[in-house]
C-alpha cells in the first residue's frame, strides 16, 4: 500500500535526518565561532552576575550586622565619621602662596608688616626696648605670638630662650631690635640665635639695629644688621623686605589622633604659639585632667566665675590648675574676659569651657570694677538657682583641695549671718607664718583672691550700689569699706588654697610681687580634713579664742619682738604677745611688727577684734592689741604692751597699696 516506501526508508531517513540535524548543529557550533563566543560570553556573564550577587549579599549581611550592633556600640565608626565631617582643606588653591614681609629696626621705632598689614608698630618713648619677636603660621601667615624681650635687662634673654624653644619647628620667626637688645644677651641666647641660622644675631653688639626673618629649623629668609659706630650712638635704621613662601597646611599641623580633644587642640595650636608642650606633636601635654571626684561634694553645683583680662598665658596656667583640682565641675565654670581679646578666648576654647567677653567700660580700676560687676551679675543670671558663686582671677594657682576646702566650709555661709565671705587666701599666710592646712580663721578683712560670694549679699546689697563707672575705685577696696562689710567677717584657711602668681597687672609689678606674694604658702596636700569647722561660727569662735588665750604662754615682753629669739625654739606651743593699740583703728605697732615679721604691712589684714593669729617656728603665735581688743582682759597685769615706733622717714608715705 502506501507504507512500502515508508517503512524501509523511515528509519534510515529519520536517522539520517536526525544525524544531519545534529551534525548541522555540531557543524554550526564548531564552525560558527561567533555563536561559540556568544555562549562563552554568556557563561562568563553568568559567573559575573553570580559574583556580584555574592558581593551584594556579603555587603548586606555586614550592614545588617553593623546595624544590629550599632544600638549597643554607638561609638563604632566614630572616628571615621569625624574624618568625613572635617571641612575640606584648601589645597594650594589660595590666591597667594608667598607673603611679603617688611621688618624695620631702629633706635626709636620698630614695625613689622605682613602683606602690607602692620602687625607690630612700636614707636612709644621709653617703652618696648629690646628684641621684639613675632611668630607667623607658616601655612596661613597669621600672627601666632608677639613678644618683646628687654634683653638690655638681666634674665630677659632666658625668657626669650624659653619662648623660642617652645615655638614649633617650621614656624616663621621675625625678630627686630628697638633701642638696645644686646647688653644682657648671654651666650645661651646667642647660641640659640646661631642655631636659627642668624649671622648677625649672635654677634649683636651695643645699640646695633637688627632685623631677621627665618623659619624655625629651616632656612633664613632675610637678615639685616647695622653696627653702632660708637658707644653713644645707635646703628642706622634697617628695613628688611623679604618674601616668605607659605607651605601647605598639612605640613603646619601635627598628626594627632582625631578625637574631640585633639580637634580643640588643633584649632588652638594653629592659631597661637608660646604654650609649650600643649602643641607638641609628639606626646602633647593633656588638656583634660579628670581629677578625682570629691565624695559628698557640697560645691558641685556652685558656679565658678573666672575674671580675666588679656593675659592669656596666665589664664592658661590658671585654668590648668583649676581643672586639676579635685571636685571641679567644668560646666559650672565661666570665664569672663574684659575686652574682645582673641587669645584668651582661644585658651578658654582649648579647655572646652564657656567664655564671655565684655566690652570694656571706663578706665583703670573702674574698668576692672565694672567688669567684676557685669561678671557677677551674669554668673547669677546664668545659674539662677545658685546660692553662691566662686570668684577667681586669672593670675591664681588653685590648690588641689580648693573645692574640698569649700565643700567642708560652705555651710557656714548658710548658717552664719555674721559672715561676709569664705576666702581661699590668707593675707598673712607666708612660708614662715603659716603651718596648719586644717586650721581656719575668722578675719575682719576681705582677702579676695579666690572667694565665695553669697547670692543674697550680691543681689540685695552689693549690686544695687556697686560703684558707678565714673568712680575710679577698686572693687575690693570698696567691698572692704565698713558701709559694705557692716561688721561681717570672712573665713580663711591658715594655709592658702590659692597662689597669686601674676607679676604683670594693674597694681602689680615684679618688685611688689617678690616682696609680698612670692613667699606665700600654698597648700599642695590633697584631701585635707578641716578641723572643727563649726567652731568658726560667731559665738563658738569666741569660745575657741578664749580657750586658746587661756592656754597660751605669755612671751617675754622685754625682748625685741623683731628678734628671732622672741619666740622660743619649741614646736606645737601656743604663745601670746600683747601690743599697744589705743583705739580700734590704731595699728601703729601692728604695722611695725608686721614689717619686721616680713608679712603684709601695707594695710591691716587678718585681724579679728584686735587679735592676729599666725605661726612662728611651728608655734601658734597670737598677737592681742591692748586695750582696744576685748581680749585685753587676758593680759596679765604685770605685762606692759609692746610699743613699736614707726620710723620717722616713713611719715606721710602712702600707707595703702592695693592688692590686685
Amino acid at each position: 500500500m502506501d507504507d512500502w516506501k515508508a517503512s524501509p526508508l523511515a528509519k534510515p531517513f529519520g536517522a539520517r535526518k536526525k544525524r544531519s540535524w545534529y551534525l548541522t548543529w555540531k557543524y554550526k557550533l564548531t564552525n560558527q565561532r561567533a555563536l561559540r563566543r556568544f555562549c562563552q560570553t554568556g557563561a562568563v556573564l553568568f559567573l559575573l552576575v553570580t559574583v556580584i550577587v555574592n558581593i551584594k549579599l556579603i555587603l548586606d549581611t555586614r550592614r545588617a550586622i553593623s546595624e544590629a550592633n550599632e544600638d549597643l556600640e554607638p561609638e563604632q565608626d566614630y572616628d571615621e565619621a569625624l574624618g568625613r565631617l572635617e571641612p575640606p582643606r584648601r589645597r594650594g588653591g589660595g590666591p597667594r602662596r608667598v607673603l611679603d614681609v617688611e621688618v624695620y629696626s631702629s633706635r626709636s621705632k620698630v614695625y613689622v608688616a605682613v602683606d602690607g598689614t602692620t602687625v607690630l608698630e612700636d614707636e612709644a618713648r621709653e617703652q618696648g626696648r629690646g628684641i621684639h619677636v613675632i611668630v607667623l603660621n607658616q601655612a596661613t601667615g597669621h600672627v601666632m605670638a608677639k613678644r618683646v624681650f628687654d634683653t638690655y635687662s638681666p634674665h630677659e634673654d632666658e625668657a626669650m630662650v624659653l619662648f623660642l624653644n617652645m615655638v614649633a619647628p617650621g614656624r616663621v620667626l621675625i625678630c627686630t631690635v628697638k633701642d638696645e637688645g644686646s647688653f644682657h644677651l648671654k651666650d645661651t641666647a646667642k647660641a640659640l640665635l646661631r642655631s636659627l641660622g642668624s649671622q648677625a644675631g649672635p654677634a649683636l653688639g651695643w645699640r646695633d639695629t637688627w632685623a631677621f626673618v627665618g623659619r624655625k629649623g629651616g632656612p633664613v629668609l632675610g637678615e639685616k644688621h647695622s653696627k653702632s659706630p660708637a658707644l653713644s650712638s645707635w646703628g642706622d635704621p634697617v628695613l628688611l623686605k623679604t618674601d616668605v613662601p607659605l607651605s601647605s597646611a598639612e605640613e603646619a599641623e601635627c598628626h594627632w589622633a582625631d578625637t574631640e580633644l585633639n580637634r580643640r587642640r588643633r584649632r588652638f595650636c594653629s592659631k597661637v604659639e608660646g604654650y609649650g608642650s600643649v602643641c607638641s606633636c609628639k606626646d602633647p601635654t593633656p588638656i583634660e585632667f579628670s581629677p578625682d571626684p570629691l565624695p559628698d561634694n557640697k560645691v558641685l553645683n556652685v558656679p565658678v566665675a573666672v575674671i580675666a583680662g588679656n593675659r592669656p598665658n596666665y589664664l592658661y596656667r590658671m585654668l590648668r590648675s583649676l581643672l586639676s583640682a579635685q571636685g571641679v565641675s567644668p560646666q559650672m565654670i565661666t570665664v569672663f574676659i574684659d575686652g574682645y581679646y582673641e587669645e584668651p578666648m582661644d585658651v578658654v576654647a582649648l579647655f572646652g569651657l564657656r567664655g564671655i567677653q565684655h566690652t570694656p567700660i571706663s578706665i583703670k580700676n573702674a574698668r576692672v570694677s565694672q567688669h567684676y560687676k557685669a561678671s557677677l551679675t551674669a554668673t547669677f543670671n546664668l545659674f539662677p538657682e545658685a546660692k553662691f558663686a566662686v570668684v577667681l582671677e586669672e593670675d591664681l594657682d588653685i590648690a588641689v583641695d580648693f573645692f574640698s576646702f569649700l565643700s567642708q566650709s560652705i555651710h557656714l555661709l548658710e548658717e552664719d549671718d555674721s559672715l561676709y565671705c569664705i576666702s581661699a587666701w590668707n593675707d598673712q599666710g607666708y612660708e614662715h607664718t603659716a603651718e596648719d592646712p586644717a586650721l581656719l580663721y575668722r578675719v575682719e578683712t576681705m582677702p579676695g583672691l579666690g572667694w565665695v560670694l553669697r547670692r543674697s549679699l550680691y543681689k540685695e546689697e552689693l549690686e544695687p550700689k556697686w560703684p558707678t563707672p565714673e568712680k575710679l575705685w577698686d572693687w575690693d577696696m570698696w567691698m572692704r569699706m565698713p558701709e559694705q562689710r557692716r561688721g561681717r567677717e570672712c573665713i580663711i584657711p591658715d594655709v592658702s588654697r590659692s597662689y597669686h602668681f601674676g607679676i604683670v597687672g594693674l597694681n602689680m609689678n615684679g618688685y611688689f610681687h617678690e616682696a609680698y606674694f612670692k613667699k606665700h604658702k600654698f597648700n599642695t596636700v590633697p584631701g585635707v580634713q578641716l578641723r572643727n569647722v563649726d567652731s568658726l561660727k560667731k559665738d563658738a569662735y569666741e569660745v575657741e579664742v578664749h580657750r586658746l588665750l587661756s592656754e597660751a604662754e605669755v612671751l617675754d615682753h622685754s625682748k625685741n619682738p623683731c628678734e628671732d629669739s622672741f619666740l622660743p625654739d619649741t614646736e606645737g606651743h601656743t604663745y601670746v604677745a600683747f601690743i599697744r593699740m589705743e583705739k580700734d583703728d590704731d595699728f601703729t605697732t601692728w604695722t611695725q611688727l608686721a614689717k619686721c615679721l616680713r608679712i603684709w604691712d601695707l594695710d591691716v589684714r587678718g585681724n579679728h577684734r584686735g587679735l592676729w593669729r599666725l605661726f612662728r617656728k611651728k608655734n601658734h603665735f597670737l598677737v592681742v592689741g591692748v586695750p582696744a581688743s576685748p581680749y585685753s582682759v587676758k593680759k596679765p597685769p604685770s605685762i606692759t604692751p609692746i610699743f613699736l615706733e614707726p620710723p620717722p622717714k616713713e611719715e606721710g608715705a602712702p600707707g595703702a597699696a592695693e592688692q590686685t
Binding site: 559567573l47 553570580t50 549579599l57 544600638d71 565661666t334 567664655g355 543670671n381
Partner: protein, 398 residues
C-alpha cells in the same frame, strides 16, 4: 573530540554557575525575608505595631540619651495627652508586658522632648554619636538672653533646639534653660540663612514658634510602649501651660537707651522700693497662681517693665489686671491669708471693680478688673481701649 570536551566543560560550567546563582538568589531572598520579619516573627501576636518608624526613632533616641546621660523628658503634647488619659493603667502594667504600641506609634511628624540644660554634663560629642546612630541632626543656637540684661556682654552661644531626623520621623529636642525666678525657658526656633528649610516640616513643630516659659516640673519615670521615659509628674498641668507659655523678653536695649537719657534712680529709697515692690509682686503672683486666676501687669507696673525693664521707683504701688470673669469671691481672703489686708474696694463686681491691698513698707497692691465688651476692654470706670492681648510678662516672674 577536543572541541566537544571544551563545549561540555563550558556547558557544565554554565550549569553549575546558574545553579549556584539560583542558590544564591534563594538564600538572599530567604535572608532578606528573615531580616525584615525579625521584629514581627519574634513577637508575633504579642507585640503589635512596634515596627513603626515613630516607635523606632523614639527607641533609638531614648537609647542614645540614656547611654550619654542626656537629661531629657517627654513634652510632646499629643503623647502626653494620651499618657495622661491612661496614666493609672500605665503605672500598673509592669515593664515590657505591653502588647500593643499605643502611644509612640501614633502617626505624627515629630516627638518633642525637653532637655534640661543645667543638668547636662557632657555636651560634647553627643551630636556626632546621634549622627552615627543614623539620625540626621540640626542644631539651632543663639545668644544667651540671660546676658542681655547686662551691658555689653557677649558670650558663647547656647543651644536652643535640636532636631534629629530618622527616616520620616524627627525628634525635636527643646532645650530648657534655667532663668532667674525659678522657671524654665526655651528659645525661639529661628532658622539661619544657611539652614535647610525643608529639613523637616518646621511649621508643624509644637514648640519653638515663640520663646516659652514653663514652671519647673517635677518628673516621674514611666514605661510607655516598652520604653522608659521621664514625663512631668503632673502632665495635665504641663499641657495646660503650653497655650500660655509664650515668653516676651524685656526690651533691654531700649531700656538702656531710656536710662542713658533719664539716668537710673539709685538712691537708697529707690532701691528699697524696688525690692519691696518686687517682693510684693512675687507674693501676689504666688497667691493668684494658687487660686488659678490669670493676671497681668497693668498701668504703671506694666509701663515700668516695658520702658525700663524694672519697677518705676516713684510709682509707689504695684498694679495688676484680672478679667472680671476670673473674679472669685475668695480672692480677698486669699490675699489676707498671704499677709496683705484689703485697704479699699472700689466699685462692684458688676461694674468697675478695683481691689487695693496693703503690702509691707507702705507699698500698695492695686488689682484692676477688666471688662470685655465686643470691641474693647475697659477697667476701673475709665475705659482703657487696648487692642492688644496681654500676656504675663517677664517681670512678674522675677
Amino acid at each position: 573530540m577536543n572541541r566537544i570536551n571544551k563545549n561540555v566543560i563550558l556547558a557544565l560550567l554554565t550549569l553549575t554557575s546558574s545553579a549556584f546563582l539560583l542558590f544564591q538568589l534563594y538564600y538572599y531572598k530567604h535572608y532578606l525575608s528573615a531580616k525584615n520579619g525579625a521584629g514581627l516573627s519574634k513577637s508575633k501576636g504579642s507585640r503589635i505595631g512596634f515596627d513603626s518608624i515613630q516607635w523606632r526613632a523614639v527607641k533609638k533616641f531614648i537609647m542614645l540619651t540614656s547611654s550619654q546621660n542626656v537629661p531629657v523628658f517627654l513634652i510632646d503634647p499629643l503623647i502626653l495627652e494620651l499618657i495622661n488619659k491612661n496614666l493609672e493603667q500605665l503605672k500598673n502594667t509592669s515593664h515590657g508586658s505591653t502588647s500593643e504600641c499605643n502611644f509612640f506609634c501614633v502617626p505624627r511628624d515629630f516627638t518633642a522632648f525637653a532637655l534640661q540644660y543645667h543638668l547636662w554634663k557632657n555636651e560634647e560629642g553627643w551630636f556626632r554619636i546621634a549622627e552615627n546612630m543614623g539620625f540626621q541632626c540640626l542644631k539651632i543656637e543663639s545668644k544667651d538672653p540671660r546676658l542681655d540684661g547686662i551691658d555689653s556682654l557677649s558670650g558663647t552661644e547656647i543651644p536652643l533646639h535640636y532636631i534629629c531626623k530618622l527616616a520620616t520621623h524627627a525628634i525635636h529636642v527643646v532645650v530648657f534653660h534655667e532663668r532667674s525666678g525659678n522657671y524654665l525657658w526655651h528659645g525661639h526656633l529661628r532658622l539661619k540663612g544657611h539652614m535647610d528649610r525643608k529639613f523637616v516640616p518646621f511649621r508643624k513643630l509644637q514648640f519653638g514658634r515663640y520663646p516659652g516659659a514653663f514652671d519647673r516640673p517635677e518628673l516621674q519615670q514611666v514605661t510607655v510602649d516598652g520604653l522608659e521615659v521621664l514625663i512631668p509628674k503632673d502632665p495635665m498641668h504641663f499641657l495646660e501651660e503650653i497655650p500660655h507659655s509664650r515668653f516676651i523678653e524685656c526690651r533691654y536695649k531700649e531700656a538702656r537707651a531710656f536710662f542713658q537719657q533719664y539716668l537710673d534712680d539709685s538712691t537708697v529709697e529707690a532701691v528699697t522700693f524696688r525690692k519691696s515692690a518686687k517682693e510684693l509682686l512675687q507674693l501676689a503672683a504666688k497667691t493668684l497662681k494658687q487660686l488659678g486666676v490669670r493676671f497681668w501687669l497693668s498701668s504703671g507696673t506694666c509701663l515700668g517693665w516695658y520702658r525700663q525693664c524694672s519697677i518705676i521707683p516713684y510709682s509707689k504701688d504695684v498694679d495688676l489686671g484680672i478679667f472680671i470673669q476670673d473674679y472669685r469671691s475668695n480672692i480677698i481672703s486669699a490675699f489676707q491669708d498671704a499677709g496683705l489686708p484689703l485697704k479699699h474696694k472700689f466699685g462692684k463686681v458688676e461694674d468697675s471693680l478695683e481691689l487695693s491691698f496693703q503690702g509691707k513698707d507702705d507699698v500698695k497692691l492695686d488689682i484692676f478688673f477688666f471688662y470685655e465688651e465686643t470691641d474693647h476692654m475697659w477697667n476701673g470706670g475709665t475705659q482703657a481701649k487696648t487692642g492688644k492681648k496681654f500676656k504675663v510678662p517677664v517681670t512678674s516672674k522675677q
